[in-house]
């Protein structure tokens, strides 16, 4: 029995040492963390009042701070990174940077509301925080810290070895990749309609969670806590719907459940007339990712909806923005109503 116990102890010690000090994934998770760090650094430098857009990848792909900020006359940072970065992590990092008079817009992906606490604990950022920022991981709670310590699977370890070798060999220049993919407001760029993947988009079929799952989800509770805390500090918090295919069913009860997460805790909620639903032809490579012309078109609509809530005059979009938005497939049908 002693031999088994020693083997088990050695196994655990090696595991913790490897994932705390040696193994990490610089080209996949590391790239996302670098994206987040850059966005946080820029967000910290913005003068108040400012606007921050937070969600998963729906924020940078489908929302343009360049457009919204210009139309509302506010400095804006697109702080969303990816689903899989835990909402608790995202909120904990942005919370200290948001002050009285600032605004935050949250078009959070609907599947993020209904995740369980266990799923949240196992988000991919836990392993990264265990490697890079154990103080923040501990700040997120003892269970989250424990899950972060046990956040790496054997395939993660294998991938880490491959990525570290590739990174050491000079493959994947992360700063250059981020510079090519994001503008200075944190918006995703280069997602042209010509490089979109309609074949892949045609295969996607998402079913949204029901209203009870949304209301009871750990993500919803985490968001509600964030809304309450920021609203108490005088930050204007506004929820919104993420972009999605117009074929994905979104019942009224779902919208009511999402709206309540914000309005019951001191926040606001905007719902666009089209409920942020667009034809597949408007998207890039996922339900949450509009191609850039449609990102602009959607952002123009979002800016117009946010203006009254923020008590800001809404300026018309610039000519270049209008021109790009006009090339979005759904804009061709409604161009007069939306852009002009």
């Amino acid at each position: 029995m002693r031999r088994l116990v020693l083997c088990a102890a050695a196994s655990l010690a090696l595991y913790f040492a490897a994932f705390a000090f040696v193994l990490h994934r610089p080209l996949s998770v590391g790239l996302l963390r670098m994206e987040m760090d850059q966005k946080l650094a820029r967000g910290a430098r913005l003068a108040s009042p400012k606007l921050v857009v937070l969600a998963g990848s729906n924020a940078p792909f489908s929302h343009s701070c360049r457009v919204i900020g210009a139309m509302l006359g506010l400095p804006c940072e697109n702080g969303g990174v990816a689903v899989g970065i835990g909402l608790d992590d995202l909120f904990a990092r942005w919370s200290p940077l948001l002050h009285r008079g600032d605004s935050v817009y949250l078009p959070i992906e609907i599947q993020q509301y209904d995740i369980t606490a266990a799923q949240n604990r196992m988000d991919m950022d836990g392993a990264w925080l265990f490697y890079r920022n154990r103080a923040l991981l501990w700040h997120l709670g003892a269970l989250r810290a424990l899950a972060g310590a046990f956040g790496s699977t054997m395939p993660d370890g294998l991938e880490a070895l491959a990525e570290m070798a590739a990174h050491a060999a000079g493959l994947g220049h992360r700063r250059a990749m981020l510079a090519a993919q994001f503008d200075r407001e944190g918006d995703r760029i280069g997602t042209t309609l010509a490089t979109a993947d309609p074949g892949f988009l045609a295969t996607l079929h998402r079913i949204e969670p029901g209203p009870r799952a949304i209301a009871d989800g750990y993500g919803a509770r985490e968001t509600a806590r964030f809304v309450r805390r920021l609203s108490a500090r005088g930050v204007i918090v506004i929820g919104g719907l993420p972009t999605d295919f117009d074929t994905v069913r979104l019942p009224e009860a779902d919208i009511v459940a999402i709206r309540r997460i914000f309005t019951r805790h001191g926040g606001h909620f905007v719902e666009l007339p089209d409920r942020s639903r667009y034809p597949r032809a408007d998207f890039y490579n996922s339900e949450d990712h509009l191609a850039q012309p449609c990102q602009y078109l959607h952002s123009i609509a979002v800016a117009r909806a946010l203006g009254p809530l923020l008590d800001r005059a809404v300026r018309p979009p610039g000519a270049a923005m209008r021109a790009l938005a006009a090339t979005c497939p759904s804009a061709r049908m409604t161009i007069a109503a939306r852009v002009e």
């Binding site: 029995m1 031999r3 088994l4 083997c7 088990a8 050695a10 196994s11 655990l12 090696l14 595991y15 913790f16 994934r25 080209l27 996949s28 998770v29 996302l32 990848s57 990816a82 899989g84 369980t116 266990a118 799923q119 604990r121 196992m122 991919m124 899950a147 046990f150 956040g151 790496s152 699977t153 054997m154 395939p155 993660d156 294998l158 991938e159 070895l161 491959a162 990525e163 590739a166 493959l171 994947g172 490089t195 993947d197 892949f200 295969t203 490579n285 996922s286």
Partner: protein
């Protein structure tokens, strides 16, 4: 209850072992076996208690029937009636839905909803009882008490997915059991259980993440590119081996903890030199059952070449069909039947080839046969086979083609390979590395039962922490593949 669930590992198993040892020490071996039987019924009823009476009825019914048969002057009619009853129960629960649906589609009418839920483990405990019935008819197994018999059939370690153990190997062990838990057995059992757990949680479940999307896509009618199809098939081939051999090791370990020795069920099957050798290494207890209770009674190889081939084909078709109520399982069995017949003819005519080439061909044949076994329909099998041949194109993610520009000569770069995991992480790299490691272990490492102490220590150190990670922190416990059979 699953062996790979926290409730089993941290609650059920320690409690069961503790009560077994306590009952054996305080009240004697019979009491220990009664505790084991009660624990097995709790284990079985955990999922759907409503099925407990059926299991209990089947065990009591068979035991009484065999006692009657042993005393009868004319045993054969009783044997036939017993076989019909057991196979009838299996047929109703497992195949009635399939036959109703097939019949309805042939006549162009709507299939009736029979409302049958597959009884968990029915394929295994039916075969166990058929063995006892037949062996008792042949006087090849001694009579035993009810508790010994019930433990032989219902012991939770093998109740749901085998191994299918011979009555004459196991029943005497229960009869002779002294109700004690010995430390040597306990340690050996825990070690084997942990090694099996690591196979399941660390390897099989990780591989499933790369096997499932490809087969799901084929089931939905989406074409697969070459890399996606091969990663899915290689991942599945490794997954089913680690899943089932891991389960078997866990079952062997659980039995060993209380001093019961189960037979070996896997012996590095993918290292087989030919297809006959494969079947001597893969699911050894099922192969033995099919040989002794089907192939040999059909006539085996005693009535000429044509009859031998027919017997082989019947055995493999029925063996395939035993796995599940779908025609694709029949196709899997049929393919293996053809492989075995071709191999017999090759040997008969004195064919020879190099050992490595023979192993490679065998492996390829086995992998191809997994396609209908895993695919949800024959149409999905066809889509997967087309992908494996490259008919769906050769696609690779942009990121990789940019890193290795020479790949542009053979592959088309795409933003995302949809059936190889998440879009923004390097799942292709992860998938390929994992499949490479898994097949390295499969083809180069000895089986865990052949490992020396040093090798077992290394395997435990490599797997224990990842097992803890998967057991307590994975979002859900993935059932064993063979539980569905």
């Amino acid at each position: 209850m699953l062996f790979n669930s926290p409730v089993f590992v941290v609650a059920f198993l320690p409690l069961c072992l503790g009560l077994f040892a306590l009952a054996g020490w305080r009240f004697g071996p019979r009491a220990a076996l009664v505790v084991l039987l009660a624990a097995s019924l709790v284990f079985y009823g955990w999922w759907k208690p409503v099925f407990l009476p059926l299991l209990a009825g089947s065990i009591v019914g068979n035991y009484v029937w065999v006692r009657v048969m042993r005393r009868a002057m004319r045993r054969k009619p009783l044997l036939v009636a017993g076989l019909v009853a057991n196979l009838g129960l299996l047929g109703w629960f497992k195949y009635a839905g399939l036959f109703a649906a097939t019949g309805a589609s042939l006549f162009g009418v709507r299939a009736p909803d029979l409302g049958i839920v597959l009884l968990l483990g029915i394929s295994f405990f039916t075969f166990q009882q058929i063995m006892y019935l037949v062996d008792s008819y042949r006087d090849e197994t001694p009579a035993c008490g009810f508790v010994d018999y019930a433990c032989f059939v219902g012991f939770f370690a093998h109740l749901l997915a085998g191994p299918i153990v011979r009555p004459r190997e196991i029943i005497p062990q229960f009869v002779r059991h002294d109700g004690r838990v010995r430390s040597g057995d306990l340690v050996a059992g825990i070690e084997m259980f942990l090694l099996g757990l690591a196979k399941k949680l660390v390897l099989a479940d990780s591989l499933a993440r790369f096997a499932d999307p490809g087969f799901r896509a084929a089931a939905a009618g989406h074409p697969l590119s070459l890399v996606e199809a091969w990663v899915a098939l290689l991942a599945y081939g490794a997954q089913i081996y680690f899943d089932f051999s891991g389960y078997s090791d866990m079952a062997i370990g659980l039995a060993r903890m209380i001093g019961i020795r189960f037979p070996l069920n896997f012996r590095s099957p993918y290292q087989a030199r030919d297809i006959s050798d494969f079947w001597r290494r893969w699911n050894i207890t099922l192969s033995g059952f099919l040989r002794d209770y089907l192939y040999i009674p059909l006539g085996g190889n005693r009535h000429g070449e044509a009859r031998r081939n027919a017997n082989l084909m019947i055995t493999m078709l029925l063996g395939g069909f035993w796995h599940g109520a779908a025609w694709s399982f029949l196709a899997w069995g049929g393919l293996h039947g053809i492989y075995l017949i071709v191999h017999q003819q090759w040997r008969r005519f004195g064919g020879r080839m190099g050992a490595r080439l023979a192993q490679g061909i065998t492996l390829l044949a086995v992998l191809v046969a997994w396609v209908p076994f895993r695919a949800e329909s024959l149409r999905a099998s066809w889509i997967m086979l087309r992908g494996l041949c490259g008919a769906g194109g050769v696609l690779l993610p942009d990121l990789i083609v940019k890193a290795v520009p020479a790949l542009r000569l053979v592959a088309t770069p795409v933003a995302v390979l949809p059936y190889l995991g998440a879009a923004r992480t390097m799942s292709v790299v992860q998938g390929v590395a994992l499949v490479g490691l898994a097949w390295g272990i499969i083809l180069l490492a000895p089986d865990v039962h052949s490992l020396r102490v040093r090798g077992r220590n290394a395997a435990l150190i490599a797997g224990f922490a990842f097992s803890v990670q998967a057991l307590f922190f994975a979002p859900f416990a993935r059932p064993f593949i063979y539980f569905q059979f």
